[in-house]
């Protein structure tokens, strides 16, 4: 069984652990550098990205994650998407730069604008997983404003959009969702990530 790390400094790491188990992987709750050697891929969960970033710096894990992302697949949801992005605005903050997207924090509004919606996925996503709409939970979600582009990396592939904006994308080994697939019973997004390992 694949061992998948879940960064467990803050946020809904427990929900990701349960979703990974449901999708057929063994979760490892990563709090220390040494655990990175034991895992095949890493999930950065939803939570509060400023807090997570501060704790990453405090634990001295920031550079380790940037380096891990060059070798192994990573999957970020919501705050995780912000940490994995190339550019972050509103306000701007440091990020790992593992996927070539520019995100705006809280781009869909504050807590009161949070919502659960059904979204269409691309044929590519459905062929690799299963057909059907995807339930997407947006909580103070970031919005992907643009794909920044890169010459030396695989191109960014959009797997789902909401109201015209990308909400689920992949680039090479990495997967990013601005919503929370870990909070629904539909395990297709986690299954897709496991296939990348």
């Amino acid at each position: 069984m694949k061992k998948v790390g879940v960064l467990s400094l803050q946020g809904d790491f427990a929900a990701h652990g349960a979703a990974l188990e449901h999708a057929g992987a063994e979760p490892v709750y990563v709090r220390e550098r040494a655990q990175l050697a034991q895992i095949d891929g890493l999930v950065i969960p939803g939570g509060e990205s400023t807090t997570m970033l501060k704790l990453l710096r405090y634990e001295g894990l920031f550079d380790d994650l940037a380096e891990f992302g060059l070798r192994k697949p990573m999957f970020g949801t919501c705050a995780g998407a912000i940490l994995m992005a190339r550019e972050v605005s509103h306000p701007s903050q440091e990020s790992l730069g593992l996927v070539d997207i520019a995100v705006e924090r809280n781009g869909y509004g504050r807590q009161i604008d949070s919502r659960v919606v059904e979204i269409d996925t691309t044929e590519n996503f459905q062929q690799r997983t299963a057909p059907g709409k995807l339930e997407a939970v947006f909580i103070r979600a970031p919005i992907i404003r643009r794909i920044t582009g890169s010459v030396e990396r695989a191109s960014v592939n959009v797997l789902a959009r909401f109201a015209g904006d990308p909400v689920l994308i992949e680039q090479g080994p990495h997967l990013v969702a601005t919503f929370h697939p870990e909070l629904t019973s539909d395990s297709r997004v986690h299954e897709l990530f496991l296939r990348k390992l």
Binding site: T50, T51, K54, L55, Y58, R105, R110, Q111, I112, R140
Partner: protein, 234 residues
Amino acid sequence: MANIGIIEAIMAKVSIPVMAKARIGHFMEARILEALGVDYIDESEVLTPADEEHHIAKTAFRVPFVCGARNLGEALRRIAEGATMIRTKGEAGSGNIVEAVRHIRTIVKEMRHLTILGKEELLHEAKNLQAPLELVEWVAEHGRLPVPNFSAGGIATPADAALVMQLGAEAVFVGSGIFKSSDPAARANAIVKAAKNYNNPEKLLEASRELGDAMPGLDISKMAESELMQTRGW
């Protein structure tokens, strides 16, 4: 409810979620805070209650609420009204952890008790707890609250935060413990680190170093019941 200008200034300044307090039962203060766009409302006993019988009917709101509780019955009544987060009341502003410990211990013990009861006993227990049967049954099946369970009211040190996390809190609220200390910024930082590292004594030691004086604690046993905030709400 605090001065709106101050809440707005805070919302404009920080990128993290902002929670504001409404008085117990004051649903129009809550409507104003919702219109302002705060991220959460704390229907809080720290402010004098606006209604001596009723809490806010929170299911009617889009903004999520947190409410205080001293025991499982109180927690489940608040959840039935629509609270999406619960925090132990402790004794706010006391700098003394004893009440927060009492309340989290009580809630955890009462939940554990439910998990060993049979169906007919749960009916009786719902009556004792003055809480809806379906919530009592949910807790009996899962052994936890159906919403996040926080600890608040008297947390003043990194060790306090780690203690209540050990006792079953999923997160901690700290107010005067930070703002009435001699070193608010450093203390806030240290308490966040302690909540994250509550299982790691070396990290807790590191977080506890280089802190000044905690806020002076009050001896709650010497306070009159009428002075206590935790007795507000029902």
